[in-house]
C-alpha cells in the first residue's frame, strides 16, 4: 500500500505490548506499512522479561500464559519465531498445619488428595470441571470474535447473536441456568453449590477476583472463574503454562513475527499525544517533539490513558469523557519478584514435585475475605492472597544453576491507599516485607535465601508500565465492563469516537490477560474498513 504522503505510515501503533505487536503483525501481513512505538526500553508491556539482576530473567508482571489464541500462533507462525510454552503440572495450596492440598495432572492422585478433606468433594471435582469446560466452550466463541452488538439490527449482528443463542440452546436448559448463575453469583456461592471443603474452595475461588477490586463473596465473581476453564495452550484444552524465557519471550516472538512481515518497531519512543486535524487522528507527536504521520493511529494503551491522556478531553464529547471517567480501573494487585539461592522448603511436604506449578496462598475463604476487608479501607492486606510460581524449575534458562526465581502475584494492594496513591513509594518496602513474611510462614528460611527482591505496587505498575491505577487488565474484568460495554457502551469494536483512531489493547473486548485477541480482532476490524 503506497502511502499518500511520503514517509507516512498506514498505521502507527502506540505501545509495544503483546496486543500492539500482534495487531502490527496482522496489519503488516496484509501489506500495511506499520510502525510500533514503545515507551520503554523493552518490548512486551505487561508481558515482559527483564534481567533485573545478573543471570535472572524475570517475568516482571504477567507470569503464566493460558488464553493466548491458538489461531494467532498458527497465523503468525509464532513457534518458528521462538514462542515456546511449558505447561504447569500442579496446583498447590499449602496450609500452616499439615501437608496442604496439591492438585495434580493425575486425576486419581488429585482425588486422593481432596479426599483427605472431603471424600464428597473429591468425587464431584471432575464433574465440576466437566460442567465448567462445557460452559467455557460456549464462552470461548465470544472471545474468538468481536463482541456481539445487541443494539444493532444489522443482519450480521443478528446472525451472531442468534448463533450464540443457538449454541446455548443446543447446550440445553441446564447450561442456560448455569450460565445465569455464573453471571450473577459470587465465586464462593457458586462453589458452595458443589463443594464443602474450605481448603479446596479457597484456592478455586480466587480466580474469580484476580485483577478486580472485589472479594470472593462479591456477586458477579463467579463468571470470571470460567476463564480458568477456557485455557488452551496448544488448542489442546489444558490450562496454564510458562512462556520460555519468561512472558517476554512470547512478546518477542510476536515482535519477530511482525518484523518478519515488514513492521517497524521502535523502543524508547514515548508518544506525547495523538495528532488531530479536524477531529481526525493523523499521527502522533513523540515526547521528543518528533511528529509521525499515519493514516490510522492505533492505541494499545488503556482507555483512560488513550482518551484522557493522549487525545485530551477537550477533543472529545462530554458524554464519552464521562463514560471513560467512570470506566473502572481500581488496581488491586501488586507483584513481588525474588531471586533465591535455593528452592523453598514447605512445611509438611517433602521434595519439590509439588512446586512444578502454581502455589496459592489461600488457606481459607475467611482468609481471603479478611484480605479484602483491609483493602476496602485503603490498606494493603497484611496477609494477602499470593499466587506463587517458580518458573526456573521447569525453565532453567531463567536462572543460574541451582538458583531460582520466585514470582508472587499479590492481592490486595489497592491503588488508592488511604495515604493517597502517590505515597505508595514510601510503603513499597513494607508491602514487600508483608508479602515475603506471608510466604515465609509456609516456608521457613525463605528470607535467608533471597538474593534480590523487586516490589511492584499498583503505583509502580502505573508509572512504569502505563497501566492507569495499576489495573493489570487495563480495566476490571467485571461484568459491566465486558463484551459490548468494553471499554464503553457502543465502542466495543476497536473504533473510537475520533475518526481514524483505533484501540487494540486489553481495555477492549475480550479483555485482559495474555490473549492477543484484542490485537487480532482490532486488526481484522481495521482491515475490514479498508484504506
Amino acid at each position: 500500500m503506497s502511502a499518500a504522503r511520503a514517509g507516512r505510515y498506514d498505521a502507527v501503533i502506540i505501545g509495544g505490548g503483546h496486543n500492539g505487536l500482534v495487531c502490527a503483525a496482522y496489519l503488516a501481513r496484509a501489506g500495511r506499512r506499520v510502525l510500533v512505538l514503545e515507551r520503554r526500553h523493552v518490548l512486551g508491556g505487561a508481558s515482559v522479561t527483564e534481567e533485573l539482576c545478573p543471570g535472572f530473567q524475570f517475568s516482571v508482571c504477567s507470569y503464566v500464559v493460558s488464553l493466548f489464541r491458538p489461531s494467532i500462533i498458527r497465523d503468525l507462525d509464532l513457534a518458528r519465531h521462538g514462542m515456546e510454552i511449558i505447561p504447569l503440572e500442579t496446583a498447590f495450596t499449602p496450609q500452616l498445619e499439615g501437608p496442604g492440598l496439591c492438585r495434580w495432572a493425575d486425576g486419581a492422585r488429585t482425588r486422593r488428595e481432596i479426599s483427605r478433606f472431603s471424600p464428597h468433594d473429591a468425587e464431584i471435582y471432575p464433574e465440576f470441571s466437566l460442567t465448567m469446560t462445557k460452559m467455557g466452550q460456549l464462552v470461548r466463541h465470544i472471545i474468538d470474535g468481536p463482541a456481539p452488538d445487541p443494539t444493532s439490527f444489522r443482519p450480521r449482528e443478528l446472525a451472531r447473536l442468534l448463533e450464540l443463542g443457538n449454541l446455548f440452546r443446543k447446550a440445553g436448559p441446564d447450561a442456560i441456568h448455569m450460565n445465569m448463575k455464573l453471571l450473577t453469583m459470587s465465586a464462593v456461592d457458586f462453589l458452595d453449590m458443589w463443594f464443602e471443603s474450605d481448603t479446596l474452595k479457597a484456592p478455586m475461588s480466587v480466580s474469580g477476583i484476580i485483577g478486580t477490586f472485589l472479594g470472593v463473596r462479591s456477586p458477579g465473581t463467579a463468571y470470571v472463574l470460567l476463564h480458568h476453564y477456557m485455557g488452551e495452550i496448544d488448542g489442546a484444552f489444558r490450562s496454564w503454562g510458562y512462556s520460555k524465557g519468561g512472558t517476554g519471550g512470547l512478546s518477542l516472538a510476536c515482535a519477530r513475527a511482525a518484523e518478519s512481515l515488514g513492521a517497524e518497531i521502535r523502543t524508547e519512543a514515548p508518544v506525547a499525544r495523538v495528532l488531530l486535524e479536524n477531529g481526525r487522528a493523523t499521527g502522533v507527536v513523540l515526547e521528543n517533539g518528533d511528529e509521525i504521520q499515519a493514516a490510522k493511529v492505533i492505541s494499545s494503551c488503556d482507555p483512560r490513558l488513550t482518551f484522557l491522556g493522549l487525545v485530551g478531553r477537550d477533543n472529545l464529547d462530554g458524554e464519552f469523557v464521562g463514560s471513560i471517567e467512570r470506566y473502572k480501573l481500581r488496581g488491586s494487585s501488586g507483584k513481588v519478584n525474588l531471586a533465591v539461592d535455593r528452592l523453598p522448603r514447605f512445611r509438611g511436604r517433602e521434595g519439590t514435585e509439588f512446586l512444578r506449578g502454581d502455589i496459592a496462598i489461600a488457606p481459607s475463604i475467611d482468609y481471603l475475605e479478611r484480605a479484602y476487608d483491609q483493602a476496602k479501607y485503603g490498606e494493603f492486606s497484611s496477609r494477602p492472597y499470593i499466587n506463587v510460581v517458580i518458573p526456573s524449575i521447569m525453565d532453567p534458562s531463567v536462572a543460574p544453576p541451582g538458583q531460582h526465581i520466585i514470582s508472587m502475584f499479590v492481592q490486595y494492594a489497592p491503588y488508592d491507599i488511604k495515604e493517597g496513591a502517590e505515597n505508595w513509594p514510601s510503603k513499597r518496602e513494607a508491602f514487600g516485607d508483608a508479602v515475603v513474611a506471608t510466604l515465609a510462614e509456609y516456608c521457613p528460611g525463605l528470607e535467608e535465601s533471597i538474593l534480590y527482591r523487586q516490589v511492584l505496587t499498583p503505583w509502580d505498575l502505573e508509572q512504569e508500565f502505563g497501566l492507569s491505577e495499576g489495573n493489570i487488565f487495563q480495566g476490571e474484568l467485571s461484568l459491566e465492563q465486558l463484551l459490548f460495554q468494553r471499554p464503553a457502551a457502543g465502542w466495543s469494536r476497536y473504533k473510537t469516537p475520533v475518526k481514524d483512531l483505533w484501540m487494540c489493547g486489553s481495555g477492549t473486548h475480550p479483555g485482559g490477560g495474555i490473549m492477543g485477541a484484542s490485537g487480532q480482532l482490532a486488526a481484522a476490524a481495521i482491515l475490514a474498513v479498508g484504506e
Binding site: 491458538p70 500462533i73 498458527r74 509464532l78 513457534a79 518458528r80 515456546e84 510454552i85 511449558i86 505447561p87 503440572e89 495432572a105 493425575d106 492422585r109 466452550q137 443446543k170 488452551e232 496448544d234 488448542g235 489442546a236 484444552f237 520460555k244 512444578r356 524449575i393 521447569m394 525453565d395 532453567p396 534458562s397 544453576p401 541451582g402
Partner: protein
C-alpha cells in the same frame, strides 16, 4: 520375559507410574510418572536421562573391519575418522533396508555399531573373506542418553574431558566420576545431547553421578513415551514402526529402500561394491516410487470435524504408531502415515508418511484419515520435509 538393564535398580525406584514395556527383551520405562509430558519438556528445556541399554551393540575388530563395514552398509566406512560416528542403514541384496543405526570408529581397527534388531547372524553371514571379529556387546554395556539444552553443562560437571570440544557426531573415551566411559555427541531427540556407553559394572555409579549433577539443571529421568514425541519432531524414523526390516517382510511391497525412507543421503554409490549396490544404483537412476515425507495435518479442518460432534479437538498427548491411510484429492489411496504426534513445541499435528513420489513435494497437499466419535474422516495435510524441529543447538 524381559530382563532388567544395568540401571534397573535405579530406574525401577524412580518409575512410580509402573508404566513399562518390553524393548528388545529388556524392561524399559514408558514414563516415570503418570504423564510423560514433563519428561518431554525436560528434553526441550532442561535435560532428560534415558536408559537406552536395550539398543543392540556390536564391536567389530580387526584389520579388515573398515572394509567389511563398507561392504555391509551403504557408506564407505574406510573414510570414517577415528573418534567419529556416522548414521546409516544397511540393505539386503535387493537394496531393501535391513536396519538402521550408527557406527562409531573407536580406533583404527575397532568399530562399535548400534542396531535396532539382533544382527549378529546377518553380520556374520556378510563377513566373507574379511579379517574381522564381531562381538555382540549388548549385554556388556549399559547405555544412557542425556538429552536437552542443559546436557552439556551437566556432563561437564562429572567428566574429566572438555565436553564443549566434543563435536556433533564425535565420540571420545572419558572418565566419568572415575568410571571409564565412551561419550558420543549423538542422540535420538533432535536436540543437544550425548550418549554414554559404560561397562555394566560401572553403570550405577555413572547413573548416580549424572543424576546428582543434573539436580541443579532440571534433569528428569525420561522414558520412551517422551522420546517418541521428541524423535517424531526430529523426523527420525523407527524400524518396526515407520518401516519393516527386509528380513521380516512376507511381501516385497512391505520392504523399503533407503531412497524411499529418506535415507538416500546416506547411500554412497560411487565406490567398491557393497550389499545391495546394483539394486540401489538401478533405483537411484529410475527414481523411488514412494517417498518418506512429513505431514502437517490441518488444524482448522481437524477442529471442525470435532466441532461437528460438539467437541473440542481430542488429541492424545502421546505419539501414535498405528498406521493411517493417506489419499489424494480424489480419494485414491497413495500411501500411509506410519507414526505421528502433536508437537507441543511447534504447535503442529505432525506425522511421518510414505506416499507416492508424485505427491512428495513440500507444500503439496494430501488427505489423511482420522477418527472422531468412532467415525472415519479425511482431513487435509500439507507435505513438509523432516526434520520438523531442528534447533541450532542440535549441531552446536
Amino acid at each position: 520375559m524381559p530382563i532388567p538393564t544395568p540401571f534397573h535398580s535405579r530406574t525401577s525406584t524412580l518409575c512410580t507410574s509402573m508404566k513399562w514395556k518390553d524393548w528388545a527383551g529388556f524392561h524399559a520405562v514408558c514414563s516415570y510418572r503418570t504423564h510423560h509430558e514433563p519428561e518431554y519438556f525436560a528434553f526441550r528445556h532442561a535435560a532428560g536421562l534415558i536408559d537406552v541399554s536395550p539398543l543392540f551393540k556390536y564391536e567389530v575388530y580387526g584389520p579388515g573391519a573398515a572394509a567389511f563395514l563398507s561392504e555391509l552398509t551403504v557408506k564407505d566406512i574406510k573414510k570414517l575418522k577415528i573418534g567419529r560416528v556416522t548414521y546409516l542403514c544397511w540393505c539386503d541384496d535387493d537394496g531393501k533396508v535391513v536396519d538402521d543405526g550408527t557406527i562409531a570408529r573407536l580406533a583404527k581397527t575397532h568399530f562399535r555399531m548400534t542396531a535396532a534388531e539382533p544382527s549378529l547372524s546377518w553380520f556374520d553371514r556378510s563377513r566373507r573373506q574379511h579379517d574381522v571379529t564381531i562381538e555382540d556387546s549388548t549385554a556388556r554395556f549399559g547405555a544412557l542418553a542425556l538429552q536437552g539444552p542443559n546436557s552439556r553443562e551437566i556432563l561437564s560437571q562429572v567428566t574429566d574431558t572438555d565436553i564443549a570440544s566434543l563435536k556433533f557426531f564425535a565420540i571420545r573415551q572419558a572418565s566419568l566420576d572415575g568410571a571409564d566411559v565412551w561419550i558420543s555427541r549423538t542422540g535420538y531427540t533432535g536436540d543437544l545431547g550425548y550418549e554414554i556407553w559404560i561397562e555394566r559394572d560401572e553403570a550405577l555409579r555413572v547413573y548416580d553421578a549424572l543424576t546428582d549433577a543434573g539436580r541443579d539443571y532440571g534433569l528428569l529421568p525420561a522414558g520412551l513415551d517422551a522420546l517418541d514425541v521428541a524423535r517424531l519432531e526430529a523426523g527420525f524414523i523407527m524400524n518396526g514402526v515407520d518401516y519393516f526390516s527386509a528380513h521380516h517382510c512376507l511381501t516385497e511391497e512391505r520392504k523399503s529402500s533407503p531412497f524411499e525412507l529418506g535415507l538416500g543421503w546416506t547411500v554412497k554409490l560411487d565406490r567398491d561394491p557393497f550389499v545391495g549396490h546394483t539394486a540401489l544404483r538401478r533405483e537411484k537412476k529410475a527414481g523411488a516410487k514412494r517417498l518418506l515425507v512429513g505431514l502437517d495435518i490441518d488444524w482448522g479442518e481437524l477442529e471442525s470435524v470435532f466441532a461437528g460432534y460438539g467437541l473440542p479437538p481430542e488429541l492424545s498427548t502421546e505419539a501414535w504408531r498405528d498406521g493411517r491411510p493417506v489419499y489424494d484429492g480424489s480419494d485414491r489411496w497413495i500411501g500411509q502415515a506410519t507414526s505421528g504426534a502433536w508437537s507441543p513445541t511447534l504447535k503442529k499435528n505432525l506425522a511421518l508418511a510414505q506416499i507416492e513420489a508424485s505427491f512428495a513435494k513440500p507444500g503439496s497437499t494430501v488427505r489423511i484419515e482420522l477418527t472422531a466419535e468412532y467415525r472415519r474422516h479425511r482431513v487435509t495435510a500439507r507435505v513438509l520435509e523432516p526434520p520438523f524441529y531442528n534447533p541450532a543447538r542440535k549441531r552446536a
